[in-house]
Symmetry: D4
Amino acid sequence: MDPERLRELLAAVQGGQVSPGAALERLRRLPFEDLGFARLDTHRALRGGAPEAVYCPGKTPEQVVEILARLGQSHANVLATRAGAEVHAAALAAGLRVAWHPTARLLVANPVPVEGVGLVVVVSAGTSDLPVAEEAAVTAEVRGNRVERVYDAGVAGLHRLLAQHPLLLEANAIVVVAGMEGALASVVGGLVDRPVIAVPTSVGYGVSAGGWAALLTMLATCVPGVAVVNIDNGLGAGYLADRINKLAAKIR
Amino acid sequence: MDPERLRELLAAVQGGQVSPGAALERLRRLPFEDLGFARLDTHRALRGGAPEAVYCPGKTPEQVVEILARLGQSHANVLATRAGAEVHAAALAAGLRVAWHPTARLLVANPVPVEGVGLVVVVSAGTSDLPVAEEAAVTAEVRGNRVERVYDAGVAGLHRLLAQHPLLLEANAIVVVAGMEGALASVVGGLVDRPVIAVPTSVGYGVSAGGWAALLTMLATCVPGVAVVNIDNGLGAGYLADRINKLAAKIR
Amino acid sequence: MDPERLRELLAAVQGGQVSPGAALERLRRLPFEDLGFARLDTHRALRGGAPEAVYCPGKTPEQVVEILARLGQSHANVLATRAGAEVHAAALAAGLRVAWHPTARLLVANPVPVEGVGLVVVVSAGTSDLPVAEEAAVTAEVRGNRVERVYDAGVAGLHRLLAQHPLLLEANAIVVVAGMEGALASVVGGLVDRPVIAVPTSVGYGVSAGGWAALLTMLATCVPGVAVVNIDNGLGAGYLADRINKLAAKIR
Amino acid sequence: MDPERLRELLAAVQGGQVSPGAALERLRRLPFEDLGFARLDTHRALRGGAPEAVYCPGKTPEQVVEILARLGQSHANVLATRAGAEVHAAALAAGLRVAWHPTARLLVANPVPVEGVGLVVVVSAGTSDLPVAEEAAVTAEVRGNRVERVYDAGVAGLHRLLAQHPLLLEANAIVVVAGMEGALASVVGGLVDRPVIAVPTSVGYGVSAGGWAALLTMLATCVPGVAVVNIDNGLGAGYLADRINKLAAKIR
Amino acid sequence: MDPERLRELLAAVQGGQVSPGAALERLRRLPFEDLGFARLDTHRALRGGAPEAVYCPGKTPEQVVEILARLGQSHANVLATRAGAEVHAAALAAGLRVAWHPTARLLVANPVPVEGVGLVVVVSAGTSDLPVAEEAAVTAEVRGNRVERVYDAGVAGLHRLLAQHPLLLEANAIVVVAGMEGALASVVGGLVDRPVIAVPTSVGYGVSAGGWAALLTMLATCVPGVAVVNIDNGLGAGYLADRINKLAAKIR
Amino acid sequence: MDPERLRELLAAVQGGQVSPGAALERLRRLPFEDLGFARLDTHRALRGGAPEAVYCPGKTPEQVVEILARLGQSHANVLATRAGAEVHAAALAAGLRVAWHPTARLLVANPVPVEGVGLVVVVSAGTSDLPVAEEAAVTAEVRGNRVERVYDAGVAGLHRLLAQHPLLLEANAIVVVAGMEGALASVVGGLVDRPVIAVPTSVGYGVSAGGWAALLTMLATCVPGVAVVNIDNGLGAGYLADRINKLAAKIR
Amino acid sequence: MDPERLRELLAAVQGGQVSPGAALERLRRLPFEDLGFARLDTHRALRGGAPEAVYCPGKTPEQVVEILARLGQSHANVLATRAGAEVHAAALAAGLRVAWHPTARLLVANPVPVEGVGLVVVVSAGTSDLPVAEEAAVTAEVRGNRVERVYDAGVAGLHRLLAQHPLLLEANAIVVVAGMEGALASVVGGLVDRPVIAVPTSVGYGVSAGGWAALLTMLATCVPGVAVVNIDNGLGAGYLADRINKLAAKIR
Amino acid sequence: MDPERLRELLAAVQGGQVSPGAALERLRRLPFEDLGFARLDTHRALRGGAPEAVYCPGKTPEQVVEILARLGQSHANVLATRAGAEVHAAALAAGLRVAWHPTARLLVANPVPVEGVGLVVVVSAGTSDLPVAEEAAVTAEVRGNRVERVYDAGVAGLHRLLAQHPLLLEANAIVVVAGMEGALASVVGGLVDRPVIAVPTSVGYGVSAGGWAALLTMLATCVPGVAVVNIDNGLGAGYLADRINKLAAKIR
């Protein structure tokens, strides 16, 4: 409830149109409406809609489809993450309009084309990091960001990365996805003055298994301008890149 | 060496003002200068200068002073981090012009006032988190960002945070500094659609000792738009906030 | 053996009805009976019965059924935890009278309705936390506590939690079930002056995998009045809530 | 602001004694006051006051004294934890009225005698666990609970514990403080049907160093009715025991 | 080669029956034979034979059978550990004479009855610990020790343990097998003055998963006379109990 | 209370010399006395006395001296562990009769010479392991075991160990003390058929710091007959060696 | 671009054959070409070809085959690691010329016999370590090194290792592969003055599970001349042995 | 005892000059002498002497000096590691001839100039890594290797590293010393085909504290030809580089 509407309510009480008891009922929920208002504002600012993403593991395909159907009624581009073929099939069988990105393991319900603004660059080290990199890239695209991919540009192929230096310098946000030892985030961070979002992946074996070595490397970097999200959290990196790029592109 | 100056050099060779041998000497260092060029560009864009910060632990005050003196000749606002009173005293004794921020443990050599652009908000949970929060805030200020502080706004004092909701929504980047259980980053991330940089601090005892509990909490957050830097890394958070805010403020 | 029966035995020895040798045999086992007596007292105080719960993993359905059959002869509302459909089927096939709670993965043998006293509130963060939350809720219900559920009230949906503030303030014990970053326990603990039992869940991936991030967060909380049980231990939280609620409701 | 006072305000607006503008100013802060109201309620119920405890490490004695002085103006029995002799001396030098409990490392500012209700029993394993046990015990006492101590009752001295069995069975809450292997919590939990709050301590060496072995043991217990707080967190255990005991004693 | 046989060889050289060259060949392998001698001695002292045990995981049933067949030619009671039904079937199909202990997951090739000397007691906490407890018990039996089992005697059923106090006091070695929080080893160690070998098991969930909580508890015990083997290492506990019991029974 | 005395009491009741009420009072404490009886028996069997050892860290020298004085009245050879020069000085100043072993950091109060029976061999890897090795050795000696030391026999000096092979084969228990990588326990265990008690030490840096690498190595050993105690726990190893050696020497 | 070619380019600019603009374009890519040059040099030095190895997990057999086909066009002896039967079958079905080493799980595409120079010795502790040991051995062989295998030479069978002492002393590089407690690397390192590359394996259970105990042991070794690669990284050990052996054999 | 001397001994027995008994005594110690022989051979091969290094922490300066004096009698260039000024002073006071390298914290007793052969390059990331880098460099120099240093060449100053590319390609062994995130080892490994020995350092804070992040990064590297030693183990890296370089330089 914004101040203007509150002033009107109080005036209505003063003028006798609203009884103190009715106003009391209205005001009782004020704290929560106020919080809700903030959320409404968030929602409005995001335009084309940004409902919660649906995390599929631990839900049946039917449950995912039901949630998507409900969210899709009022929102465009609803994301279901870690969505496999069986979720896709269930969505189609239920008559939902969806776009499926199998590598990214993303299912987009009620998909609506959005023009991409600004520039987000997603860099990945190896082919095994693709699912996470694509989760970040498609998330950013679906939310209306222009996305360029620089894949397979690990430390072993540093020249491929250097060849894309101009692109990196143009980006408003760079997502770096890497497993194994995760050194790529430091290298990219040292080449640019742009915000770098590092995503460790669980790819690897031995000390790399589960992504902990990459996570620690990325947190430990002494290169400025790098921050880290959870292991395999391509979605989170895409969301954060979206926030930064929209600000820089003056959409927000 | 930027393209323009390279073109001039080549023209000078063509015109005979510079011999191939002299040009060769000049170009021999090109790869490194070229990499440095990216860094030079960074430097230029940042205005008032952004040389490497000097990490004091493990160096004698004399060594720190010597490095600051050298860097301060060509750069304004050179930062020395984790700088205590003895480093400050040594700098004064050596005749350096410095500004010391004791809470932030930052020593700024060759300090030059910079107008703050955009808005970076630094939120901290408790008074023990102040040194890290101030390291982030002063770093951002010194690099030319407008900084607002919302301190002592931990989960226990949530209302203090909520009272600053409008300020949070106006920020281009929010730095959240918290030790203990680090839940504050999730709470802030849930209230805004702005980039949130979470800094776990080593404040606490038992499972909180060293900052690991806060670090894991922040990485594990399911609230979108949050990324994390190393424990106690106020400097890194300040740098990243600077990068984001400058982009949003169209300085970069 | 309670003091009264011991006095009788001694009187019988004095009166010659029991020989010293027979009394010796009887008393030889006294220490264990005495310990057992404490347990008996526990049992009596709990009314409707509180035998050990049967942990199903690592046992065949047949073994579980056999144990339940034996315990069910002398006890009502015997709990088998982590009980899947095959255990349920085996119990039915064996002619046992059981109530199965599939979400809670609880099988109640020899179920007897118990009136719920006092108030235990179970709060959960996300839908994936439901099995653990239900294990806590059903455990408390079966043991005779009134239970109210506030589900899907994670940090992202804080307003749903705040809307239940009066209910929380009325509870004698609040069980908070959360995976991922587990910040919900701190938030709830900050809103009430009631005992909060936090249950981390193994829901999540990356640093959240296995529930360790949530566990550390909950232990590290600086909000007073919160204690923690093992990851996924809904049963333990339900038991402890039962103990506290019964005391407050003056049943115990 | 409680509903009654809000109704009065609205009536005053209706009656014209208060203008809408003045009411608006008053209501603008409502959300925070409303949250504060919950806290006020807490405060009232607790009688003699329960402000935040002051955690001394990382603060100068002067800072601690200043905070205590301010809090002590409106609250009785303000706690400063981990308070050593130098904090005590500084408080005395500043003319504060304090009670110091050196073993518990607690300094109570503006101390006011409170009658102890109900019963909290604090059990500790070894003499090295005393500081943490005393922190729990004094915290509970200061907050108005009757406290009995059963110290030095580790697994090696099980008979001392068994000798206090009746006392344990009478308690509304039992705090068990143990380092090393922390088995005591399981043993106590097996003897009673009362809520047990386990506090691991950092006492020990090798695998016990830092308290992790005790923490894991206590969390892993298969004995029902036990929950755990952070390592060395006597304050938290005392607070939770207070909450439970007050409910059982019908003070709350 | 024992001293006696070496003396004979040298005498044969002196007497000319053996040439220096032939003796040289014989002595060239002396260091290894000498080390083997120690092992031979071990073998002899153990009577009925103690070859290496065969660890089945990672080997095909055929490979296990082949190794057993070879070892079984010169040794009685050859052990294969973690042996499932398919290994048993393969052994029978290959015509091997074997005894299979399915709970202990032990397959004994070339089984020969051995009289049990002295006394080893194996105590276990819960039914899920049975496989490890039986591995220890059968190992000790097969190697010729009298073994008594005290199962299902966890902290919750302390009276069952106390009822076996005389048996415990008679043992030359006590193996305590426990998962979850592993407190049983401390309790047993506090009741006896006999060597206690603690075996943590991987039974449990949350912090107990994998057996680490039990392992740390057992290592951290402040009760004297307890040592620990690897998680789930029933074989190792059985071997060590055999060594101690044989010494005490003066077999060795 | 042993059976004989209980029979007498019952006969006295039967004979009327003792009233049932008086007997009741006597029997009420039976469970604890009975447990104590076991401990008494332990004590008696050990002859020369085996009171609890006093762990000095966390106690003032005065506290240690007071405890030693009390224990020393009824016991010989009371051990204080991790006792430095200041504890020794305090004991002398208080007029206690003590023997101090500075390398072992052991103070023996009321020292009485005990003849050493059987054989315990203590092997250590490096000179930095001496304090722990000596703690084990002196503990065993003080409790009446013959002890031989084989020091500085790490993997690098394997020949020194092999030279003592006959001594190792004669031992009833072998304590192996090693830090760094702790491989020595495996090597010794492979050379003998005697019980081996492995003690990891906290000597080392990097991955060895704190003793964890040595601990894991020792637990992971595939050599039979080895069990492990806590890091730096020379006392525990000495106690266990005492138990085993006494059994083998038929003292117990 | 080497200095000579740069001098020519500048001379051509001076002489007017090349315009400054064309030279600028050429120089713009200099840094990357220079890095590429280094890589080319590396490649040339290795002779018989050393393309990147293909890590199969996470790729479909078809993807692996496609990559191998492409790499195999220009390279001999292309390695695919962790390659199972289905990858082998897919390669054959696609008409690739391959050699499959099932134990080593290596598939060599476009295999060409290479004469083995120098000497690399691969030592392994147990039969379960074979896959990793073979991965190291075959990798080294395929890259043109003479390889000798000393398998099943764990601490328990030390004499088998000692029997190969002369072979070890002749090696230019020794790869030691061991799981469980990993003590073998220390033992081998103590016997030779040759470079030892230690490979921990994930073989084992309890504290050995995943290979961490072996990893820490190997890193903690106090024996000089030992370095460690990732758990199960036979490929990396084979590569490093190749580098060292080639240097020693003066091939490089 | 080499074969020739053994043949002579047997011939002397055959010829009657030596009795079988005397020969038996001589042969009894053969196994150890034989092992010692191997060590002697090692020693001989190393020329200028390579006694064990003395690890100073945990020893008094006097103890270190005494050991150095003894070792220095028969060896040149005896190393004492982690040797501070007080050890140096004690050595001088005792009249020892020593060379002290304060940055490397190495004290060389009985120093003798050795010509450096081949080439070892030591690369370090930052100035805080200097002590470890110097420990490696001086160790290698003292043992007779030519050493070149490339310091302060971290990821942030990649151009400094690239400028030394030719030097790296000439090296027989490269030691890379880095703390923080340790990415430098991957970068160097990707630039050369030479053996790379990575040394993580304990420099850093937060997740870098203690060197674990750097350790994991280095182990996880997917760049071939890299192996890792313990955190801060400059000595071990220097020793291994010495072994490799000597082989390549054909000294060994």
